[in-house]
């Protein structure tokens, strides 16, 4: 639905320009209030996080929630990076997330194409099998997986994380890609075949580009799902060398569980702002895709 149509169908007929402007502002007031409220509810915590990263430990414990920090140095950040090893955690998260994401998308695209576009007996069953994976609680497979990885001597490496993330993300990825691929008209593939394109060409040069929206949307969602995962990372990686940032944030604790709030918040702030940038970048692509998708061509 294009914005123009909506604009046309909701415009009101008012006589004078000034009255029209005033009336429009009044009409929009409740909506603006709602939007302002929503934005505050959503964005204030980011502000609170960043402010918190400048506070010292006693300030956290004794001062009220909304108080401003009493100093504006980067001590907490330094401590987080130097003593807390934040840099290594970020790197580990990246190394665990990006390959998992890439592999997941490629496997998922291939699987979706095979299940949705290609024609063969039993494809419906296999698709349902993937869908069933969405219903499985991950805790159920933790122990068997750990046993498998241990017996394959994979514990202590990054492989358990990557393999697990890929497998866990496949159901949703396959499902979404298949849904988007369903919308592609079959005639296009017929035409491509008549032009002499083999099945792999049809897959890579036709199907994949047409589901760009899905790739970016799924990529966005899965990126954060993996990046923010806590349980799998905690179970399969014990070594502090390979620890991801989420597990690392939990470990900003000193002797006997005294949480160092300052460095922890600094770590969180770095985490959030970093991923925010990635999010904004990917999100732009997704939004453009959604808008373009409205004008299907």
């Amino acid at each position: 639905m294009s914005a123009d149509v909506i604009a046309r169908t909701t415009s009101t007929r008012a006589p004078s320009p000034r009255a029209r402007a005033a009336k429009r502002m009044l009409q929009r007031l409740p909506a603006l209030l709602v939007i302002a409220f929503v934005l505050v509810v959503v964005l204030y915590p980011l502000l609170w996080l960043v402010l918190g990263s400048f506070k010292t430990q006693p300030e956290f414990l004794s001062e009220p929630f909304w108080s401003l920090p009493q100093q504006w140095n980067f001590d907490n950040y330094t401590e987080a990076f130097v003593e807390g090893g934040l840099g290594r955690y970020i790197l580990n998260s990246a190394i665990a997330t990006l390959p998992s994401l890439g592999i997941q998308l490629i496997f998922g695209l291939g699987a979706a194409f095979a299940l949705e576009i290609m024609v063969w007996k039993g494809r419906g069953t296999v698709l349902l099998m993937f869908l069933a994976g969405i219903m499985i609680p991950v805790q159920m497979i933790l122990l068997p997986l750990f046993t498998i990885y241990f017996n394959l001597h994979l514990t202590g490496t990054r492989w358990p994380l990557i393999i697990t993330y890929v497998a866990m993300g496949l159901p949703l990825t396959v499902f979404m890609m298949a849904t988007y691929m369903r919308a592609i008209p079959r005639e296009m593939f017929e035409a491509a075949e008549l032009d002499g394109a083999g099945v792999y060409r049809q897959f890579w040069y036709f199907a994949v580009p047409l589901v760009r929206n899905a790739i970016f949307t799924v990529g966005l969602v899965q990126f954060f799902f993996i990046w923010n995962d806590l349980l799998v990372a905690m179970t399969f990686v014990q070594s502090s060398e390979l620890r991801t940032i989420q597990v690392g944030l939990l470990n900003f604790t000193g002797e006997y569980g005294a949480v160092s709030y300052g460095p922890m918040f600094a770590g969180i702030a770095v985490n959030v702002i970093g991923t925010l940038i990635i999010y904004l970048f990917l999100n732009q692509k997704v939004m453009k895709g959604l808008a373009a998708g409205a004008v299907k061509g």
Partner: protein
């Protein structure tokens, strides 16, 4: 068409890797875990076959029943709230903000990407009563309504968890449902308006029915996610006070890894999976649509 698109070797090449990883990493452990459900013990003690004892125990265990009830209550309330709030936001984006919705959409989506640890900390501080009074209690005091120990009682703790999850996920559902509403063809809307429909009537008779597929996908996705809540509860209340905010996933995790009864833990997991399946089937049936056929 069927010549190239029916090529079995190509199917294997394209589908194979995904299927292989999925089978080995998810399906095999699932069946393995099913095997555990009729055993008792753990990796250290060893396992012994106990038939259906674990299942009998599940239905007689008051804690299991309490967690089951909590899980269902939580999933129901949260799904409704998530989808409704998400839908309202999506309507806001489409009909009120129109072209300038991109910025707001992005901002509202932002909580989705925050790590659970951070959000839990935030909500704990927001609702706290001691040692310092958090904003929520401060507002209540201001209105002379008296402060509440939000996380200290199970009734109020439930609502704090719900609030946290709605805050975290409404942006996601808003975007998901927005995609569905945006797809409704212009001419349908326009002709409806020319027939005199506007506002609520328009939403009820045109927008909802036409965005139904996406709505249903969102509901199913939400239900499956909320039934398996784990991180949020652990980070915010750790299942407390006592076990009053413990969902099945946390109970299963504790049974397996803290109490050392993998058999029982796997049984709880199976119950949860069955619950997810039943609910999903129920939603399928009541909408009388088959998702795989679009």
């Amino acid at each position: 068409m069927h010549r190239t698109l029916g090529d079995p070797k190509a199917v294997l090449v394209l589908l194979g890797p995904a299927l292989l990883v999925y089978t080995l990493v998810m399906l095999v452990p699932i069946f393995w875990s099913l095997g555990y459900t009729v055993m008792d013990g753990n990796a250290l003690r060893g396992f012994e076959f106990v038939g259906f004892d674990n299942f009998a125990r599940f239905f007689q265990d008051p804690t299991a029943m309490e967690t089951l009830w909590f899980t269902v209550r939580y999933a129901l309330v949260l799904t409704v709230l998530q989808v409704v709030v998400g839908y309202l936001l999506a309507l806001l984006y489409v009909f009120v903000l129109r072209r300038s919705s991109s910025l707001v959409r992005t901002a509202v989506f932002f909580p989705v990407i925050l790590p659970t640890v951070a959000v839990a900390l935030l909500f704990q501080r927001m609702f706290e009563l001691a040692p310092t009074v958090g904003p929520v209690n401060a507002v209540l005091d201001f209105l002379s309504l008296g402060s509440i120990d939000w996380l200290g009682e199970s009734g109020t703790a439930f609502w704090v968890i719900i609030a946290m999850d709605v805050w975290r996920s409404m942006g996601f559902y808003a975007v998901l449902l927005y995609a569905g509403i945006v797809d409704i063809p212009d001419d349908v809307i326009e002709s409806a308006r020319m027939d005199g429909a506007s506002g609520l009537r328009l939403v009820r008779s045109i927008v909802i029915p036409m965005s139904l597929p996406v709505l249903l996908s969102a509901i199913i996705f939400s239900v499956n996610g909320t039934l398996k809540v784990f991180d949020t509860v652990i980070a915010l209340t750790n299942g407390g006070p006592g076990t009053s905010t413990t969902p099945l996933t946390v109970y299963m995790f504790r049974a397996s890894f803290q109490y050392g009864s993998y058999g029982y833990g796997s049984t709880i997991a199976l119950m949860l999976a069955i619950l997810c399946l039943l609910v999903t089937l129920f939603i399928f049936r009541s909408s009388r649509r088959d998702l795989t056929k679009g």
